[in-house]
């Protein structure tokens, strides 16, 4: 298939499925599930195809940029698309088993499809207002999914999440409006061209501040993190996995990489702010996590902490740091989804998420226990699992930054290692209270989760091991091209706005 038609399909197919699923669901719930599964498989195939030939630009309605909306595929987008597609497929397979006890299952898959549409759109679009629209599609469907169980806690968490995330959206839209008034364009490549030429002025600085607050809220960085530990544990387990594994990355971190590297430049004050936010998130997140006794809440705090690593890597502003950040983003997506799915299996079988009431599940639930151990080792950064390599890259990048930052760089590296150690402590606790120890009498009859749920657990655990053992291959084939695509501003501009057509580009406000 021609690659030109492939990129819009990644947005159109889940969007179309979101409209067909409720209709199919009127006939039978199974029809809705079958369509969702089919779309999940199709998205993995499409995303794998874009990895093979990443660089392409699709002009919606044949309007030449910067007038029309463009869909831009590059190595970074392709990597994110593949991550979204693979994790979504695992989550859909898991949900086939897990969501059995919920009513209105077709509505669940509809919202899930809309969320995938929004995330694919954010990753692919080359137009900053279009990015906002897709961001809202993903965010609004995620509010509804957090409230899906409609119990007291879930409604409360959804409202809190909606208010804080809505404020972030307003900030982002205000930033986009000011950027438009400054440059007179919404096309991201054209914005990059106009802004990188001009000296940084007050408007651009204000826009950057709005974007840091807005996308920082979406990515749950520490001064803005309050919604995450409520929203992520309250959702059904497959949605927790989607929110922690994908949504904070696609809406928050990917947008930060794309906008701050693509349009602005990460250096000076911006770099300091990102490093500070990253370090704060790492330390505060992990310290709050250690004291938690609710399984999913503990995992949610670790999401804050691990996203801190990613933002720190971006903030260092070095190529190695960015490579580490992108690799850690992918790895965190895999092992955090796996952990949330494991917690879902445990909760479904035992009926509790309280660590104190669990124990000895090793004997009763071998698949869940094994995969949960693999994910715990990965997130703690134990070699040879995937988390080790990406954390190592970020630590090495921090030490190398000593040439520009001076001795502060060693402090940063030290804090990074300390946080990694605290993560290990916290997951040793999870292992001790959930998997090993004595089986409480109440749980003597616990059964392993159904096969469909175990399949996605095993696939994700295999990915954890695979990305660790073959980390060099993954880095060379996926991460480094993505890093280069994110850093190479001129190539991005040239691809979206070819020089030969620049005579037709008569823009600017007046």
């Amino acid at each position: 298939m021609d690659n030109f038609q492939l990129l819009p399909l990644l947005i159109a197919v889940p969007l179309g499925a979101a409209f067909i699923i409720p209709l199919a669901g009127r006939l039978r719930d199974e029809a809705a599930e079958a369509i969702a599964l089919l779309v999940g498989v199709a998205l993995v195939v499409f995303a794998a195809a874009t990895i093979a030939a990443p660089a392409s630009v699709y002009r919606m309605g044949k309007w030449p940029p910067p007038f029309g909306i463009v869909i831009v595929g590059d190595a970074l987008s392709s990597l994110m698309l593949l991550l979204i597609a693979v994790l979504s497929l695992c989550v859909i397979i898991y949900a086939l088993g897990y969501m059995k006890r919920f009513t209105a299952r077709p509505k669940f898959y509809t919202l899930l499809m809309l969320m995938i549409t929004g995330m694919n759109g954010v990753v692919l679009t080359g137009d900053i207002f279009n990015l906002y629209v897709f961001l809202e599609i993903a965010a609004i469907s995620s509010y509804a999914l957090v409230a899906f169980g409609t119990e007291d806690q879930e409604l409360e968490a959804a409202f809190k999440y909606l208010v804080l995330s809505g404020v972030a959206s307003s900030f982002i839209l205000l930033g986009i409006a000011l950027l438009y008034s400054k440059t007179g364009t919404l096309n991201m490549a054209h914005l990059a061209k106009l802004i990188s030429g001009a000296p940084a002025d007050r408007v651009v600085q204000f826009v950057m501040a709005l974007f840091i607050a807005g996308f920082g809220l979406k990515a749950a960085m520490v001064p803005f993190h309050a919604w995450l530990p409520d929203a992520h544990p309250s959702a059904p387990a497959p949605i927790s996995a989607m929110l922690s594994g994908l949504l904070i990355k696609a809406l928050g971190v990917y947008a930060i990489i794309r906008i701050f590297n693509g349009i602005f430049t990460v250096s000076g004050t911006l770099s300091t702010i990102l490093i500070t936010m990253g370090l704060l998130s790492m330390v505060v997140g992990v310290l709050l996590a250690v004291g938690q006794w609710d399984f999913k809440r503990l995992l949610a705090y670790h999401s804050i902490s691990q996203m801190g690593y990613v933002v720190l890597g971006i903030g260092l502003g070095t190529p190695l740091g960015l490579a580490g950040a992108i690799f850690h983003m992918v790895n965190h997506g895999v092992f955090k989804s796996l952990l949330f799915l494991c917690s879902g299996s445990v909760e479904r079988s035992t009926g509790t998420r309280n660590l104190k009431e669990l124990g000895g599940l090793w004997h009763r639930m071998p698949v869940t226990s094994t995969t949960c151990s693999i994910a715990s080792l990965s997130i703690s950064g134990v070699p040879p699992f995937n988390g080790f390599w990406s954390k190592l890259l970020i630590i090495v990048a921090a030490v190398q930054a000593a040439s520009t930052l001076g001795n502060v760089a060693y402090v940063i590296a030290g804090i990074t290692i300390f946080v990694s150690f605290m993560t290990l402590v916290s997951f040793v606790k999870v292992q001790k209270y959930v998997i090993f120890g004595k089986l409480p009498e109440k749980l003597a009859a616990v059964k392993e989760a159904p096969v469909r749920m175990c399949v996605s657990l095993v696939v994700l655990a295999a990915l954890c091991v695979g990305l660790g053992v073959f980390s060099q291959v993954a880095l060379r084939k996926l991460v480094v091209p993505a890093r280069d695509a994110a850093l190479d501003k001129t190539a991005y501009i040239e691809r979206v706005l070819p020089e030969s057509e620049s005579q037709t580009v008569m823009l600017g406000k007046q």
């Binding site: 409230a147 409604l155 409360e156 208010v163 809505g166 307003s170 409006a177 438009y180 309250s234 406000k509």
Partner: protein, 113 residues
Amino acid sequence: MVLYVLTMAIFLAGLYATMAKKNIMKIVIGMLIMDYAVNLMLVLIGYRRDGLPPIMTSPDEPASAFVDPLPQALIVTSIVIGLAMTALMAALCVRLYQRYGTFDTLHMRKLKG
């Protein structure tokens, strides 16, 4: 310039209501005010004094005679998104009221954090 400052003041008023109020209906109203302030800002960006509606009737009219039509298209999109948000927020408020019998956030404390 005064208009921009006033719009920013409306935005900040909405932000204050969203962050400081304890009644969830007032929080929703605060978010709507913020939404409208951003839309107003978009109108202002496209506005040009004595500008004509952006419909070209003869080819020799200069483009600078018209107001900028693009922000108006953005506002329509933004209003639709705002509608979806408002509907969802209202639905959540109704469900929360059914559960707790109050709109006061101080009495909604089942979450640990």
